[in-house]
Amino acid sequence: MKKALVTGKRRDGNLVEFVCKCPEIAKSAVPGQFVMISVSTTLDPFLNRPLGILWAEGDYFSVLFEIVGRGTSLLAQLEKGDTLSLLGPLGNGYSLDVPRALLLAGGRGIVTLHFLARTLKEIGISISMLFGIQNRSEIVLSRYMVNCAKGVQRFCCEEEISGVFQGTIVDALEDYATVQTIPEGTGVFACGPEGMLRALARHPLLENHRVEVSLEAVMGCGFGVCLSCAHKGRDGYLHVCSEGPVFPLSEVAW
């Protein structure tokens, strides 16, 4: 297991961000990858928890997570100065060899797309980003949208918020497509709840594009030994931790 020092903590309601120092992980991480973090020093809970990498720079990287159960609650108790025990970076990242990119992020799916956007921007690739949330409780997540000088940036919410496009990310995509065509060759990257990804999978607007999605699965190990992270694929099961978490949308089935 690697060790990472928590050098920063930010908490907004149920969302927690840790900035961590761990050169080994930070220097090799690419967008789309994740870490497996130990959440307890006792024998309960026993398994590590997977969290996407929000950004990595120099000796530092960051994770952003929602408190949803036992593990994330325990993790949220750690403070600046505490040490994390973890594995990573794990999994395969997004393809960076695209002429331009359209990023579709739903809720906490913004985590790995934030990292992707920063990276694409750095290497000079133009990006557009649509970010959707279900309700106003998630509004703080919009902080992680990356400001891209050239590209379009859209924020939508299924609940009514004044000044914000009301609808799902699919609605926002359709709306976006009325003003902007998605040029052939655009790399489309999506990360968000299963329901959102499923809707995108059947969407005519994306039919002829190379789309990559990042999947989640309940994980045992995160490094390929236990086969617990199965997700339906076109030909049999995909293993999210070792073959993903990023997959060409065309390989995924629901």
């Binding site: 130990s38 309960d44 398994l47 309940v218 045992g220 490094f223 030994v225 992270c229 199965a230 099961y237």
Partner: protein, 301 residues
């Protein structure tokens, strides 16, 4: 200090064995762990044909334990030989292949193939797979069908022949006596325990196959009891496993009579758990001036 141990004719450099299903086919764990340093690696359960396993979710965490419903997914014995044996040939560690079938014939077919593979040192037969319908469960539910399967397998297996037991109806002492008569080289005890999880948010049973197998620290006291009773009933060498997560846990199994120890679920939370366990055994022995691991095996009676 001497930590060598023996499973019949098979000598292990140390007693710490990676268990089946928690170390992949060898390749997967290798970036994290030098598999030459464990006593043996046991391969994910192989069947004659590839098996796609159960629908997700496949894993659930309980108090100090893990329920899995992998459903014995595996690439099948042929692909294993093609894709993984060459990789394993670059290592010197002992390789144990775990096998399962849906009837006697399919068990025999896999065993026949693997017994011819030079790199394979031992064949471990899973007779208690609770996750698969019509799976091994039927072979361990009475002594007659278990005896029939094991007897036939003994005839085709020329490698070290290990029978992997789980919780079952028959008295474990009776099973051991039967296996001794059938000339089995070693036993692995224990496989997972039949268990259930409920998702209160959906108000439904969590796994699609309903029951799943419980492993991890939660089951250690149950596994210790089984190993204790099995090794009292018979001298067949035993690989004790079930919840081992520390050197102390491993020593407990050795003290009750296991000749080697398996590390399973602990590897999932820490890929080098086996190495830390081995170091724990080493330092405990050396603190007490005990020369050989042999000296403590079965001391707690």
């Amino acid at each position: 200090m001497n930590v060598k141990t023996r499973l019949g004719a098979l000598e292990l450099a140390n007693p710490v064995v990676l268990t089946s299903g928690t170390a992949g086919y060898g390749k997967e764990i290798s970036p994290y762990l030098d598999i030459n340093r464990v006593g043996a690696i046991t391969i994910k359960g192989l069947s004659l044909f590839p098996c796609s396993g159960n629908p997700p979710p496949r894993i659930y965490e309980s108090a100090s334990g893990v329920l899995n419903s992998i459903g014995l997914e595996n690439k099948g014995v042929e692909r294993f030989i093609q894709e993984d044996i060459p990789f394993l040939e670059t290592f010197s560690t002992r390789v144990i292949t775990n096998i399962w079938g849906t009837d006697e014939q399919s068990y025999l077919d896999v065993a026949r193939v693997l017994t011819l593979v030079e790199r394979v040192d031992g064949i471990e037969v899973n007779v208690s797979c609770p996750n698969v319908e019509k799976g091994g469960a039927s072979f361990s539910c009475d002594l007659a069908s278990l005896g029939s399967l094991i007897g036939k397998l003994r005839d085709v297996i020329s490698k070290t022949f290990i029978v992997k037991l789980g919780p079952m109806k028959e008295n474990i002492g009776d099973v051991m006596v039967l296996l001794e008569h059938l000339d089995v080289d070693a036993v692995s005890i224990t496989n997972t325990f039949p268990a259930l999880a409920v998702d209160v948010s959906t108000q439904q049973v969590y796994f699609s196959r309903k029951t799943a197998g419980l492993s991890g620290p939660a089951i250690k006291p149950l596994a210790l009891r089984m190993v204790y009773e099995a090794t009292q009933a018979s001298d067949i060498p035993c690989i004790g496993m079930g919840g081992i997560a520390s050197g102390t846990d491993a020593l407990e199994f050795l003290l009750v009579g296991a000749r080697a120890v398996g590390v399973g679920t602990a590897t999932l939370s820490n890929p080098v758990a086996s190495m830390e366990i081995l170091e724990g055994i080493h330092s405990w022995l050396s603190e007490r001036g005990i020369e050989s691991v042999e000296d403590i095996i079965g001391k707690a009676r």
